[in-house]
Each structure stands twice: as C-alpha cells, then as structure tokens.
Amino acid sequence: MDFKLSEKEKTLIAEIAKFAKKELPEDFVGTHLIDQEYRDFEFEISMSKKLAQNGWLVMSWPKEYGGQGASLTEQTVYEMEISYWGIPGAWMGISGTQWVGPCLMMFGTEEQKNKYLPLIASGERDGVWCTGYSEPNAGSDLANLQTRAVRDGDYYIINGQKVWTSKAQHSRWCWLLVRTDSTVAKKHRGLSLFIVDMKSPGVTVNPILNYYGRHHFNEVFFDNVRVPASNLVGEENRGWYHLMQALAFERRSVAPLAYGSSKRLLENLVKYVKETQRQGESLSQIPAIRHKLAEMAIDVEIVKLFAYQFTWRVSQGAIPAYESSRNKIMGDDVLRRMAISGAEILGVYSQVDPDSKWARLKGTIQGAYLGFPGAMIAAGTAEVERSIIAQFRLGLPKSY
C-alpha cells in the first residue's frame, strides 16, 4: 500500500496550476460553469492547442502518436487538475482524447492510426470528435440500435438517426456505432464501428436544447451517407465487443474529473462560509453548515481514492469491469450531493444566473445544480450502472 504522489506527479500539479493562472482570464470559472464552456468553443479549442503544445493533451499516448508516454497515474493527475482549474478543451470534442484515440490504438489499422491520432493530439479543430451511440429507441438498451450500414463496393451506405450526440455541431468526425447485420439472433452481434466525416453529404445535425436552454447535444441524421470501407474500425459485426473492451477507457476519467471539480467547489464553499456573515455570525460557525461541508469532504476523499485505485488497476494490466460503474455512480453522487448542499448553503443566492451582480461564487453552484442530472444520465444511467455491479461483481442474475 502506498498513497503518496511521486515527485514527478507533484511537479505536474504545480505546472498545471501555473498554466491555469497564466492562460485563463482572471475571473474565469470553468468548473461547472456550463454556460462559458459551451458558448465559447473558439476559446475552448484555443486551449486544446495550448494543452497540446505543453505535451499534456494526450500525455499517456506513445510518442509516435503525439503523446509523451506518460504513466496513467500522471494522466489521472492531469485530469484532476484540468478539472480543478476548469480548463476547457481537454477532450477534443467529447471523445477524441478519451476513447477514440485509445480504441484506435487497440483496434485501428495503421492507416487509421497514422491519420487520426496526430490530428487529435494536435489540439486542432480537425481533431474534434463526437460519438454516435444512442438512438431514439436505443438508450440503456444500446444494442437495440437501428442505424444501418450496407456494403456497396469500396463503400458503406449509412442510413438512420442518432440522438443526444454531444458537440456534434463542432465535430469534424463521428465515432459511429451501426448495425451491419440484422439477421443475427442476438442483436449485439451485428454491430460495427465506423469513422464518419461529418462533412459528408447526407449528414444533418439538429440542435436539441437542454432544459436550461443550452445547446450541448444534437440529433444527427444519416441519409445515404457514403463512407469508405477503410473507415470500418476493427472487425465487421464485432463492434459491440470492441466497445465493451474500450469502456474502461471511456469511464476512467469520470472519477478524476469529479474529484477535481468537487475539490474546487468544496474549497470555494469553505472560503464563502468563512467570509459570509448572517445575523452577526460567520456562516462557518453554524453547525448545520459545518456538517454539510464535512459530508462533502468525505465524498471528495472517496472519489479521489476510487480514481487512483481504478488507474492503479489499469496500470497493473487489468481490464476493470465493475470499477468503471462504481466510479461513475460515485462521481455522479458526489456532484449531486455537492450541488444540493451547496445550494442550501448559498440559500436564495443559489438560484441566481452567473452574470448577475447577485450571483455568489460566480454562479458555479447554479451550474452544478443545473448540470448534475444530465451527468447522471450520460454514458449510462445510475440504475444501469448499479445493475452492472450487481451482475458482474456480485454475480446476481440479470435483471432485464
């Protein structure tokens, strides 16, 4: 057992802090200020480029693909700090650095790796990806998807619809899961993964506004879209299995992100209650408030340890199964409890929009409060994640 960070990891933390103070506008609050993050994509991608120039954007990738060959623990520390400072632009859309890159390294052809990995690593607009998994009738039951790809000589012709596609409006590429065989008895057996150029004729992106009016996700239509056969990733009809193996990558960053932002929120709240008086008494002296902040600190410690434990498992060569679900549940719960308790602490001011003079903590609590239900659904609902733990870790029978 050893819970200490190495000198190298500590140096990284200090360097990112320096970077954040230098590169972010003075009053920038990225943490949970969903507003700023999604309204100003130009700023976001300019930060991607700077992260790339510092060698951080894909630091754990091999050097030949634009990475630094850094350890997964360093990568995890980087993600924690990115999230702590709220530095935008780290994901190259919503998928590029997170799972498209690692998946291509596992299943991609040499041609695919040489073409797409350096693009992601560059931090340029042409390296931005979205992910096309969910469909109107394929949410938790993802294998039920109906978008089809049919072989036509050196091409596949794709028809169908995706939905909840985050950042499709900014993406140059789509990481797309489609059906290539409808005749199989088990529906997850006929699926394949494709790389689709979002500029292809027949691709239409329509915005879907979320309940606070922001444009984060979209519906994407594919109308006879021709995709070169060389854009198939891995084996035809093995897409589901590639995806399952790749899940570890997809969810590894969940806990580091939750840790970074929740640690920052907690620090901000501690500062706020120390500086704020009510009826002549500092909020920091009110037992109910101390109690809430102590509970937050417990959550923050747990999500930190889950993040490191997961990373440790992966770096031991294990392919984590239930741990990704555990971390997803914990990460979501931390933010949920923090948003709710934080709003209770701010009281009436928690409802104020970030730009208003009445806003406290620059509206970050409002951002967290509005954002957490969405986070709890993205990449697997809490209900499904718990069933995964029950089935794959505790060996209980299938519930569906």
Binding site: M1, K4, S284, L293, A294, E301, I389, L396, S399
Partner: protein
Amino acid sequence: MDFSFTEEQEMLRTMARDFLANECPKSKVRELDKDEKGYDPQMWRNMAELGWMGLVFPEEYGGTGASFVDLVALMEEMGRNIVPGPFFSTIALCALAILEFGTNEQKAKFLPQIAKGETIWTLASMEQTGSYETSEINLSARPDGDDYVLEGEKIFVSDAHVANYILVVARTGKGKAPQARITVFIVDAKSPALRIEIIPTMAGDRQFQVIFNKAKVSKNDILGAAGGGWEVVNFILQRAAVLKCAEISGACQAVLDMTSAYAKERVQFDRPIGSFQAVQQKLADMLIDIEAIQYLVYQAACGISEGEPSQLQISVAKAKASQAYEKICIDGITAHGAIGFTFDHDIGLYFRRVKAAEFAAGDVDLHRGKIAAELGL
C-alpha cells in the same frame, strides 16, 4: 500509488481468516455473548501464540515488528467474524500507546506480558456527558507524596471486568485550555479502590462503569508526561479510530456476502430476488460503500505507518465507516425480509454491534466536527 497488500500481508489475512473460521464460528460468538467473561481464554492464548497481540511490537518486547497496516489487515478479518473479546481494548486502546509513550521500564514490564496474552488492558476516558471532549474530563488525580490519588468515575469502559490494567485519563489540575493538566495513569484494575459495574448494551459486549474511590497510583505509573496526557489520548483515538474502521470494513463485507448469497437463493415470483433491480441497487450500493471504507482505511493507516497521521483522513474514514455500517446492516436486513429480523439469523449479530462500533473512538458527529476543523472552519 499501490493499492495492494504485500505477500506477507496476504498470508496474514489468509491465516487469520482460516483460524477464525475454525475457532470463532457464529455459534462461538453466540456462546460468548452469554458468557460472563465475554471471551474465550483458550482462543485468546491461541491468538497470542500466532503473534497477534505483539504484532507491531519490536522483537525485544516479544513482538514481530510488523507495521500498522499489517494490524489493520488483521483487524479487518477479526471484524468480519465479529470476534468477541478484549483485543481492541488491549491493543488498539492501550498497547500502542505504551509502545509510543512508555518509559523503557514500562515497555519492558508490560509489552512482553501483552504479547504473550497474559494481561488484558483497557482505557477509561469517557465520563457522564458521554463525550470525548477534554473539557469533560473531571476525574481528579491529586498529588500525595510519591503517589496520586484518583477520585471520580468513568463510563463505557470496555472489558474492565477482565482487565489487569486500566489506562485512566485524569485531571491533575485546571489549566487555561481544557486539554492542559490531563494526565494518563496506568492503574491496577484489581485494586480494591475500584468498583466496576456492568452497563448492559445491545451489542452484548462488555462495557462498564468504573468508580475510583481514592485509588492510589504511583507517579511512576504515569504514561507519557504528567500534564501531557492529551497528547496520549489523541494518539490513542487516532489509531483506535482507524482500527475500528478496519473491523467495520470486515463486518460490512460479511453482511454483504450473506445478503448477496441469500439474494441468489431466495425465490419469489418464480425468480431469485437478486434478479430484481431494487434488490440489486441496494447490494451495489453496499459494495461501493465497502470499497470506499477499505481505501479510506488503508490510506489513513499508511499515513500512520509512515509517521504522518492525517486527522482529515482518519476522521473521514471513521465518519464514513460508521455511517455505512449502519446503512449496510439495515439494507441487508430488509433485503432478507422477516428472516433477517430473527434471533437465529447472523445478520442481527452485526446490526446489534453498529452503535458500539460508531461510539468507539468517536461517533459520526465528533468526526464531522474534526473534519470541519481540518477544512479550516
């Protein structure tokens, strides 16, 4: 970062698990629940022979020089089997402090006895208000020549009836700060000046009121510095909190194991109840809580092992473990249905110990308070 036990630690865990499965099945726990002593002297001797009492003592005191993390690994196994007896009182509450604060004479005299399983110890700190706060320590120790005279009473002193020695937290005067003038004494538990009365509790453990009626203690039997007792008490509470968390961690694991086994075999509506999502959610949450406790405990224990205890890490571990133990038992019982509410089912043995585990080394509110202080509030 490294989240794994060493090979030696894995061996210790396996050995402990095998030993306790044989020597301390639930029938033994139930038998000892009713036993006057509350522990099995033969099992106690066997544990000593395995080197458990002296695990962290240096060899010169009859120990094996193992680390605090090793002790945590062992106590996790003891918690899994809810082993009744004065191990926690003797080792967690007293022996570690003797090793840290004892004079050479005290260590040479007391530690080998403990390692051999010959003496049982306990700590008497809490008084009528039921608090661990220093301001609540009123039992007085009045200097009288080369002696002190102790007068007052302590409550919730575990295993006092079988103890040979009691560490008594006393007030040797009133200072400006409440922690000033606190002194810890080593007191002969068999002294006629002590009166011991049982406080019956739901765990069926052995907790006592101990009344000190002008008990004479030599000044040579002070542990640590005279007037510097709060340092000793704080040292004890930090380590005892982590060791109690280790017990809780094991206990929670046992509750999850029995509940998930039951969920697989119990059939209703023609399906195992473990196939129902509502039952799965509970069990998944238990697992998440248990892993949280484990890593929090290991993290806090490593800090102690490396000589850098973190009060934040310790208090976070104890607050979380206490809360989760309660929740896991309740969810485990309700997942079992009526059978979980019966005397014959083992899950109740765990639930009846929840509160005692919480109160040991500070309840949830006390540790929330410490966390708040560590946050700078």
